[in-house]
Every structure is written in structure tokens, then in C-alpha cells.
Symmetry: C2
Subunit: 219 residues, 2 copies
DNA sequence: CCTACCGATCGGTAGG
DNA sequence: CCTACCGATCGGTAGG
């Protein structure tokens, strides 16, 4: 009996988090009222507060769950890459595909993570940023493994962020019910990126101090 | 005298719009109060309302000014491209450079345009979206001019959005006072993009129906 | 005495 | 240009 209730509690809580993510993604965190969240879940506000401590917990839980899912993805690809003996390029392609699929599944959560994380308190923000940094580092390492010359030219970090730009920005133009799917865009991103790395690396090789040269604002 | 007041009025109004853009970018539109805007401008709230009709007008003005600046940029590059006889690739490179420079100058405004445009009313939103679409189309046309094969493969639109992903996402990791400048990243974006287009176009040529194949979610 | 909720309202603050 | 407010709604919680 107690277990039955507990499982109902957890399932209800997950539905609430999902509705909150949808509303936060559409209206922003400060633009969404707890009344709206309660209404979307078809419960009264006191009932809503039975499942979550306060509004901040909603945001923290949504962001944490999503960022942990991304970190898990990275770990899984690591394991799979070792087990199947994938090449660095194959590993990065798998990473890109898995991330795009995750974004497709969790579009709302992803938008909340990118746009509303600033409304968390400093402690939660620091904790999640640390996990995000691990994820970004994993991509950067995969890129360096595939194209070691980039690290030598100190181009691996900006190039990593350009890759994240391509895949993260998709939430503004790829719609779950649209003509193009996340699965179809993933290989385009990978092809564009790997094709482009050659050009960037070539430029870096011919002008190894390109970054230092460009780093200062033109006077 | 009246003219003297008018010019002061306009200058004060611009400072207010700039402060508002800074606050909206940092806290979001619903998360920013008119009291905060007034305080940041060192004026009372009634004084603030002497320069702007309401909160909504602040947002609309910030977004419209910025998107019109981007549209102007496109027009200027068109003129310059014709006058100097630039190749399609040179024109697109110039477009990328000019946009990155504009983002560097107007980071707050750009963040507001991308994250808070949803809080405008339907009419303003439709008007600005139409201008945005013109800008995106100009990029798409420049890309097609440089690589006609992409249009045949119906890849020019997603590829255009991937390019926008790279340059738009920079506002999350490029800081005006950071180690890397917008000017130094612009050629990296262009090199990565043009290098990658070859790979995407090659894939498209070897499998012309790749998009149709990928367009449906895997069953 | 517990849980799971309801209708009503709390103290503060929003935009204006 | 300020103090002083309004109708409403905010996030959160009272009693039953």
C-alpha cells in the first residue's frame, strides 16, 4: 500500500515537472506562475505544493535531470566506444547523434537549461555549471582525439563551442513535428563539422599564431 | 529651446533602452521590474514613464532597433559586394564578419532579441519575424550563390540554420572582455563552414535523396 | 493521528 | 520630478 502510494507520488511529480518544463520553455521561469503550473497539471495550488517544495525546486529539478541525462550520455558513449573499438571520429559522431536525439526528446528541458539556469541560486548554478563543463570537456577531448593538430593550435576550445552552437541552436528551428527530424540533421552536423575541421586545421598549420594574432581587438 | 529638449530627450531615451537591454539580457523580460530599470537609469519611476509608454514598448524598441541593424548590414554588404565585385564566397565571409562584429557591439540587444521576443504581442512579433526571415533568406541566398549544389539537394536551408547556430550561440561563450574576440572567431566560423560545405555537398551528391530519406523519423 | 487535498486568504510586490 | 497610491496578481500557506 505504502509502495503503491509512493509510486503514484513519483509518477505525479514527474508529470508536474514535465508540465512546468513546457511552461518555462514557452514563457520563461519568471513569466510562469505557480497557478499556471497547477492549472496545467489540473490540480489545486496546495496540491501542487504537496509535490514540490517551491517554484525554485521545480526549476532546479528540471535543469539537474536534463544535465545529468547529458552527462550519462557522454559516459555511455565512452563505454560503447571502448567496447566496440570506435575511432575518435566515430565516437564524436555518435556523441553528436546521441545529443541531437536527447534534444529531440527533451526540447523543453533543454530550452529551460539554456535560458533559465540563470534564475537558480548561486549554489545550484555552480553545481550544474560544473556538470555542463564536464560535458563540454568530453566533446573537446573527442575533438582533440580526432584532430590533434587543433589542440596544438589552441583551436580546440572555440571549435568545440562552434559545434555546440550548431547542435544547441537547433531548438530554435527544428520542431518535433516538423519536416526535418533531429535524426536527419545529426549526420549533416557531423559532416559539416568534420569537413570544416580540415579547413580550420589547414589555416592553423599555415598560420600557427592565428589565434594570438586575432585575440586582440583590432585597435 | 524645444529642439534642445528634444535632443536631450532622445539621448536619455537611448540610455534608458540600453540599460533596459542590459537588465533584460541578464534577468529576462518578466524577471525585470520597471523599478529596476528606473534605478539603473538613476531616475524615478514616473520619470521613466515620461520616456517610454510602458514596459512592452521598451522590449519592442530594443528588438526592432537590433533587427533593423542586422537588415541594414545585409543591405550594406549587398551594395559593397556589387561595387567591389566580390565573389559569392567573399560576400558570405563579409556577411559573417559583419554579423559577428554587430553581435559584439550589441550583445545585450542580441540576447534580448533571441530570448525575449516571445513576450512581444502577436503583431510586433510577426513584424520582427518577417524582418528576421529576410535576413535569414539573405544568408541562404549567399550560401546558394557560393554552393549551388546545396539548393539542388534541398540542403541550403538547414545548412543556413547551422551557420546561424555557430554565430548566434557565440553570445553564450564569447565575452566582450574575454581572451577571444568576435573579430578573431569570425574567420574560424567562415573557414569551418566553407570547409564543411564540401563534405555536406559531397554527401548530397552521392545520395541526392538523403534529405527525403532522413526527413521521416525512424519508424 | 495520518495522508491528501480543498476553498480561502496570507504578506508583499508587480505594472501603472 | 516626487510621494503616494490603485487594481491585480505574485509565491506560498492558513484552517478544516
Amino acid at each position: 500500500m505504502a509502495r503503491g502510494r509512493a509510486s503514484t507520488f513519483d509518477a505525479t511529480r514527474e508529470q508536474i515537472l514535465d508540465q512546468a518544463a513546457r511552461l518555462f520553455a514557452a514563457q520563461g521561469y519568471p513569466g510562469t506562475s505557480m497557478n499556471q503550473v497547477a492549472e496545467a497539471c489540473a490540480v489545486s495550488k496546495p496540491t501542487l505544493y504537496h509535490y514540490v517544495r517551491d517554484k525554485h525546486e521545480l526549476l532546479a529539478q528540471i535543469c539537474e535531470t536534463h544535465v545529468l541525462e547529458l552527462a550519462t550520455l557522454v559516459a555511455e558513449v565512452d563505454v560503447q566506444g571502448q567496447a566496440q573499438g570506435l575511432s575518435p571520429e566515430q565516437r564524436l559522431r555518435l556523441l553528436i547523434t546521441r545529443f541531437m536525439q536527447a534534444y529531440g526528446r527533451s526540447q523543453n528541458q533543454h530550452r529551460v537549461l539554456t535560458e533559465d539556469v540563470k534564475f537558480l541560486n548561486d549554489e545550484d548554478q555552480a553545481r550544474l555549471k560544473a556538470i555542463e563543463r564536464e560535458v563540454v570537456d568530453a566533446f573537446a577531448n573527442a575533438i582533440v582525439a580526432a584532430r590533434p593538430a587543433l589542440q596544438a593550435a589552441k583551436l580546440h576550445k572555440p571549435v568545440t563551442m562552434l559545434l555546440f552552437g550548431m547542435i544547441n541552436w537547433t531548438f530554435t528551428w527544428l520542431k518535433p513535428d516538423g519536416e526535418l527530424s533531429y535524426d536527419s540533421v545529426a549526420p549533416m552536423v557531423a559532416d559539416l563539422f568534420f569537413g570544416g575541421l580540415g579547413a580550420v586545421a589547414t589555416e592553423a598549420a599555415s598560420a600557427p599564431d592565428a589565434k594570438a594574432h586575432h585575440a586582440l581587438h583590432t585597435p
